[in-house]
Symmetry: C2
Subunit: 435 residues, 2 copies
């Protein structure tokens, strides 16, 4: 079997970009075994769309192949009035499991977990445990590679990996092989669950209730989806809109419009302050129209530097790299960065003004004008950088999502203050000459 001809080998740089297969069509063409495999791996929204096209008899078959946690996700995705019908397709014991899971918020540990894990008793021998897991391997447990040791009240007392059991003495009690378990509570946010699994390189983490009773496990493959989901939400929020509930192409036109129009209108109202700020300086503009020409250049530089700072800091917070105790360290550092970046842009602006002057003799009082523009740039870029860095940290501090400090929001804040700084510098420096 050579890599070049094996259809399972992904080529060097797969041009997935070219193909855009329709899920439903592709699905119908598959044989039963492959179709099951594919169906199990689809996200709940795609599973639901496939089921919609099926007759009820076939629908029952497909709902029944799902593990309880996936069935719960599917049912939570389905419209309210179809949930009972979907639930009824399941056997009574799975129905109970799914009902219990469906009470958890979708993005908590409880909403992410599977209730089917391999449980052991501390008194079992290693050999008994291995035999028990061997039987479990044929059942529907999520993983046999990590087993959980419970006491008589279902409380978690330890954890043991299959590998550890396998390399331990056959006659030793499980008690001697198990380790204390790292656990998460049912209502822990999925982002935190993902971070714990990733940090500790776990295959699965057990979920316990307030009494320490084990409720289920969250496995590492769910975590990859969570990490992707959270990054998508952050990127959409940073872009200045509400996060979508579904993929871009699966979101309806009006749902998408709603997610965008809200923030766009809020930012627009905020940005109206720029018109008010500029009207304060209306007389200055009338006397020196040249000042108006540089308005977009100056305020956009503030917005751009703010965008850099807010995406840097927001992401560092999301990854847990930056904490609120770093606040003043970061502010000092960003203050210095802002000053340096502002001076760099100020220098470019001076060069630009003098080149234009030598080519077109565009400006009166060229030295004063260049000084005004470059000083304003230093002020605006520093303000933008500080705003962009501080806002995500302050939002996080008061319990809001730092990604709400979106690029457009920082830009809006900085546009208004930028105008005040620019015209303020101009009124001082140009009084008696241009003004």
């Amino acid at each position: 079997m050579s890599a070049a001809t094996d259809p399972n080998v992904f080529p060097d740089a797969p041009e997935r970009w070219e193909e855009s297969p329709s899920t439903t069509e592709a699905f119908k063409a598959l044989d039963r075994a492959t179709a099951t495999d594919v169906f199990l791996k689809l996200p709940s929204d795609d599973q639901y769309r496939l089921l919609e096209d099926m007759p009820p008899g076939e629908r029952r078959l497909w709902v029944r192949v799902l593990a309880p946690d996936d069935a719960a996700d599917l049912i939570q995705y389905a419209p309210e009035d179809e949930r009972a019908a979907l639930l009824a397709y399941l056997d009574p014991s799975t129905q109970r499991e799914v009902r219990a899971l469906a009470t958890y918020a979708e993005d908590d540990a409880g909403g992410l977990m599977s209730p089917r894990f391999a449980a052991l008793r501390a008194e079992m021998t290693v050999d008994e445990a291995i035999h028990y897991l061997r039987r479990k391997a044929r059942d529907g447990v999520e993983t046999i590679y990590t087993a959980y040791v419970l006491d008589g009240e279902q409380r978690l007392v330890g954890v043991v990996s299959f590998r550890e059991l396998f390399s331990a003495q056959a006659s030793a009690p499980v008690r001697d092989v198990m380790r204390p378990a790292l656990t998460v509570t049912e209502d822990l946010d999925q982002e935190q669950v993902a971070r714990i699994i990733a940090q500790h390189d776990l295959l699965a983490v057990p979920v316990v209730d307030a009494q320490g009773r084990m409720k289920g496990i969250v496995t590492v493959d769910d975590v990859v989806d969570v990490v992707n989901e959270e990054a998508t939400e952050d990127i959409q929020k940073l872009g200045g809109m509400e996060a979508l509930d579904d993929s871009y192409l699966n979101t309806g036109f009006f749902a998408l419009l709603k997610k965008r129009a809200g923030w766009l209108a809020i930012l627009f109202v905020g940005e109206m302050l720029t018109a008010s700020a500029m009207s304060v300086f209306q007389d200055e503009i009338a006397r020196a129209v040249v000042l108006a020409l540089f308005v977009p250049l100056i305020i956009s530089s503030g917005g751009n530097s703010g965008s850099q700072a807010s995406s840097l800091i927001m992401r560092a917070i999301a990854l847990g790299e930056v904490h609120f105790t770093d606040f003043w360290h970061i502010i000092r550092r960003e203050l210095l960065s802002g000053l340096c970046l502002g001076m760099i842009l100020g220098a470019v602006a001076i060069a630009r003004i003098y080149v234009w002057q030598s080519l077109f003799h565009s400006y009166d009082h060229v030295a004063l004008l260049a000084l005004t523009i470059s000083l304003a740039l230093v002020g605006v870029v520093t303000t933008g950088t500080l705003c962009g860095a501080a806002l995500p940290m302050l939002l996080k501090r008061i319990g809001l999502d730092p990604a709400t400090a979106s690029t457009p929001m920082v830009a809006t804040l900085v546009d208004v203050t930028g105008l005040v700084i620019y015209f303020g510098v101009a009124s001082v420096l140009l009084r008696g000459t241009l003004l």
Copy 2:
């Protein structure tokens, strides 16, 4: 053991935000076993910083606890002149493995893989395979939970999970239990590797060379890091800067400045076109200063709607949800979205102008002015939305990173065209009245 008192239980909403422990200090306080555990889980940069502070004797001990793939990462992170010394701490056979790994690009499958996997022969019985894996469980293989079936030339002929072996008949040959393997090539980009593992819910994926010979495995826990890393890069690029090589706090001041100043200066030079565009309309501004007042409001609305569209589409491309064949579908959809969003903002603007007029009698020819502003908004927001949607797709098409279509870049493009649209609409509608 109750969840409330167990130190291993993460509380409801852990205020990790409050603490900011220094890695080195925390590390020194740990006992040997825990320290090893922590050291193995640290990223290469933190491992390197810890090693720097140690005497050579201790350093050897710590380098030797690393698996070959982690040792290769550490050595690739270290400065050129220290690499040979670090390599020399390892035993000769591990040195060979690490040297082979270090030849791969860091973000290819080859750079991510571990060369230590569990290999079986197709002729073995299930029982022999289980016994063999039991011995391997004590060795340094990355995982025993997936085993790879190789022929005499080290070519991969199939894969079998431990769970499958465990529930199969003991006397059956491995050949009858194994499945065809999904593989990746050595030089496949890590983002693609991550997507394949996530899509197929794999614990590990085998890496093969062009001849189908097995070279190593990439495990799911590496994938979580890759997914996070790629999202971080995208967010930083979207913010209008080069992606950092390290975390925010671990990046030096000047390195950070360099990553930001480059794009900021390029965008600044691009934005200079706004000054040129506005100077074309200098006479109009001189005659009707009121036009200048709305410049920031109008161009920022284009930038904000462009920011929404570019982050939406960029992310959908990164997740493989959107393909180039969807180009015209997306353009039509975004054109319609842009028109709707523009009309919404136009309506808000008309309301604002009439409220101001009734309060302050601010404007002459108020109806014409309101019409100009709102028509310009429709044009600018539509342009912004289209630019933001098209640019990431076009960049991807020509082989560039779609995240280069950063919010500031889209805003810069839209600022210039926005001014032309605004003053164009104004010259037509206000000719003979305000102009």
